[in-house]
Assembly symmetry: C2
Homo-oligomer: 202 residues x 2
DNA sequence: AAAGATAATCAACATTGTGTTCATAAATAG
DNA sequence: CTATTTATGAACACAATGTTGATTATCTTT
């Protein structure tokens, strides 16, 4: 049996401190690469003592890690329950998961833009790509029992990278196209391939 | 008029030094993230004086940059001459560019695996994605005059990310599938979408 | 509201890597 | 062979790191 720890609710001081630090961190990440961000300047900007920083994080990369992990926990929660497939079968509308996924990126726009941006390593990207993999592959296997596992994985990775690529593009240039356009376009590309370019919009 | 500098051919000592440093760098990058690599340990492993390192590079990230730039110059050379399109039109075979591109990754396997791996930022990835963009978009516009620029760019990014995703997957797990399989699969996914999974192999 | 527990602050400290400099030795190109 | 270029080794000031201990401030619980 698991004991539901009934979260003691984090000390308000800790919450505020972390909030200040993470806020300053995001500001800095919008200005420069992570390797040029020092604990010292981060704390000065956050208005927090440097010693306090080390009370919560081992270093700047640990801070990044913790923020990533929190986000990924949120993302993984989306995987429970709903089927995951980008498309259920040709021409159907997008599932609940894909909607929730897009909303997830929209809700965490600033942080996701940084984590998927050029200044930071690919650990978050890799985690996002891999998160829905197993479940997705299973669903594809059910839909296409004759397709080999290799084939399905190739298809999965192609689609997943393509989709995240569009997400990244949107996060960097929000005005280029909307998330709504993104989802419907991805759906049509997945179901029809290049035909997408030949057909009329809508 | 440009004066073709007729490269004076780099001093042998310099060539050897850089080779040693870059070799040690790759070794280290296979072991740990770049942020944990210090100039000191890098030079010790390379058997090069630390002062010598600073004679050629400003810091570890400058070293990375120079290696990236050299690779990207090679890649951009592939863009001259040949048409670039992943597929010319449904069901045709892949063009010269895509073949050269795959060979490029194969020839520079170790370095590309690192540059597209998780430990490093996304600058190289972004550059690889964007390199063929303009040319590619132009060619798509010619093939599909009725498609909007937005539509074409969306298609381009989806395909480009998907393709590089498969490349990355292969670089990390070379045994999962061959480059040959990769190319033919990508072609079929692009032309047919999910149908790819329904059809028999080959 | 008081008491005990927890967190934040501040100053100090040893440590480590950085980036530069200089004199010297070694290798190279012409 | 000679002038030039490069690598070496040691020394240096500097900056950020990560930790410590004493003190103050703030929370939580009763």
């Amino acid at each position: 049996m698991e004991k539901k720890a009934a979260k003691p609710r984090e000390d308000q001081r800790v919450r505020l401190t972390k909030q200040m630090i993470q806020g300053a961190f995001l500001e800095l990440l919008n200005q420069k690469s992570i390797q040029n961000i020092t604990v010292k300047e981060l704390c000065e900007r956050a208005g927090v003592n440097r010693g306090t920083f080390y009370l919560h994080y081992h270093d700047v990369y640990d801070l990044l890690d913790q923020m990533q992990k929190a986000l990924l926990a949120e993302l993984n929660a989306l995987l429970d329950g709903t089927p995951v497939l980008f498309i259920n079968t040709p021409r159907e509308t997008s599932g609940a998961f894909i909607t929730a996924l897009v909303q997830f990126f929209d809700n965490n726009r600033e942080l996701c833009a940084v984590l998927l941006g050029e200044n930071i390593d690919k650990k978050f990207l890799a985690a996002v790509i891999d998160a829905p993999r197993d479940k997705s592959v299973r669903e594809y296997r059910a839909l296409f029992p004759n397709a080999s596992r290799q084939k399905i994985e190739i298809f999965y990775y192609f689609i997943a990278w393509g989709f995240i690529g569009l997400i990244q593009q949107n996060l960097r240039h929000p005005s280029a196209f909307s998330f709504k356009t993104l989802v419907s376009s991805a759906e049509r590309i997945i179901t029809e391939g290049v035909q997408f370019l030949a057909e009329p919009d809508g």
